[in-house]
């Protein structure tokens, strides 16, 4: 009798304590977020500050958690429940349901709803042939020109990652690099040309700006743009320009979250996470697009290569192993994409 009395106190007690703890954590999070917003308004930039949470995340089986999340969100809802669930999701993450291509009842699961297509004309493509359009809906985190030899992109103030680590070493571009080098007007002997095994990056970033001998041809710089997709955003990826995709690289990495907090506390977030890189050429030269997965949105579906599977279970995760690479046929032409063509989708789990 005394044992049952103990249990009857323990269970509600533990529940109340857990709820209280979660409440405190949530309040703390809201307070931190408010501080970040205030700092931003004052023009103070976030600085890299590794913390215990980042270390803890490294210990978690995030890929398994991601796949479990994918499994749970694939569960089909009864017809009557679907509009309620999706409206709740839209309210929580500020999605515009008016744009959904199909009636809400037709999305059987949250996973299907998440990668929904949009109504015709919802996203007009800027048709100016000189312009490069956004491949996704999202928030601009960083952009600029890669000027230094190391070609580093700043994750947040105080921590940067290299472009070559993000994209991997190109194997098909040395010919382009060699052409570029021939165009160098200063006549310096290019000792790098003989190093055929070096990647294009190594060559190009050592001399990123090359002046053509023919004055009508412009110098070329290397630019980057980082766009973050919130959970409520449209999660399909489109082509930013007319280009030829020559190579696809799949890095099977971790699946850390990619939110603002994570960028501030987890080192090498973008170069450690699972990602798919498409590389090729557009009218101005080199073009690469990296789609980086996260815990909740772990798998990347590539429409130009439907057989590609990402976020797969693995016995052991070796982050140092090279990416799986595929060169598209026909060689040197690859897959031709027009501006705005659908290329990929981020799936839940």
């Amino acid at each position: 009798s005394s044992s049952s009395q103990g249990n009857s106190f323990l269970v509600p007690g533990a529940t109340v304590a857990t709820i209280a703890m979660l409440g405190v954590l949530h309040a703390r999070r809201l307070y931190d977020d408010k501080k970040v917003e205030e700092a931003k308004e004052k023009g103070i930039e976030l600085e890299f500050q590794p913390d215990a949470k980042a270390t803890f995340l490294r210990l978690l089986p995030l890929r398994s958690i991601s796949r479990l999340w994918g499994f749970l969100t694939s569960v089909e809802f009864p017809l009557w429940l679907r509009p309620h669930v999706y409206r709740a999701w839209a309210r929580a993450f500020h999605s515009n349901l008016e744009e959904a291509a199909m009636p809400l009842e037709e999305y059987a699961s949250l996973r299907q709803f998440f990668v929904r297509t949009l109504k015709e004309g919802s996203r007009p493509i800027d048709s100016d042939s000189c312009c490069l359009v956004s491949p996704v809906d999202g928030t601009i985190l960083r952009f600029g020109e890669l000027k230094e030899a190391g070609a580093m992109i700043e994750q947040v103030k105080g921590f940067s990652y290299s472009v070559s680590s993000l994209l991997g070493a190109s194997s098909f571009l040395p010919m382009i690099a060699a052409d570029d080098m021939q165009e160098e007007s200063n006549g310096q002997e290019n000792t790098q040309r003989d190093e055929s095994k070096k990647s294009w990056w190594t060559i190009s970033l050592a001399s990123p700006k090359v002046r053509d001998p023919v004055p009508t041809r412009p110098m070329k710089g290397l630019f980057y743009c980082v766009i973050y997709l919130k959970p409520g955003d449209y999660h399909r990826v489109h082509s930013p320009v007319k280009w030829n995709v020559l190579v696809r690289r799949h890095f099977s990495g971790r699946l850390f979250p990619l939110n603002e907090r994570a960028t501030k506390t987890i080192r090498n977030l973008y170069v450690e996470n699972e990602r798919v890189v498409l590389e090729g050429q557009w009218q101005e030269g080199f073009m690469a697009m990296a789609a980086i997965g996260a815990t909740n949105i772990g798998s990347i579906e590539l429409f130009i290569e439907p057989a590609l599977r990402t976020n797969r279970p693995r016995k052991k995760l070796l982050h140092s192993e090279p990416p799986e690479e595929r060169e598209y046929e026909p060689k040197g032409i690859g897959v031709m994409l027009k501006k705005g063509d659908e290329v990929a989708a981020f799936n839940m789990g």
Partner: protein, 42 residues
């Protein structure tokens, strides 16, 4: 999830260069919300 674009585009160092071929310029700001299909730069 995040998408990173890396690309080559024209740059110019002198007004003469600009006259011959305009340089690439971003038309966005950090923190901007952008939709698929809107210009990032020209």
């Amino acid at each position: 999830s995040t998408v990173v674009l890396v690309f080559q585009a024209p740059i110019s160092k002198s007004p003469k260069d600009k006259a011959l071929s305009p340089e690439f310029r971003f038309c966005i700001r950090r923190g901007d919300r952008i939709q698929m299909g809107q210009a990032l730069g020209r």
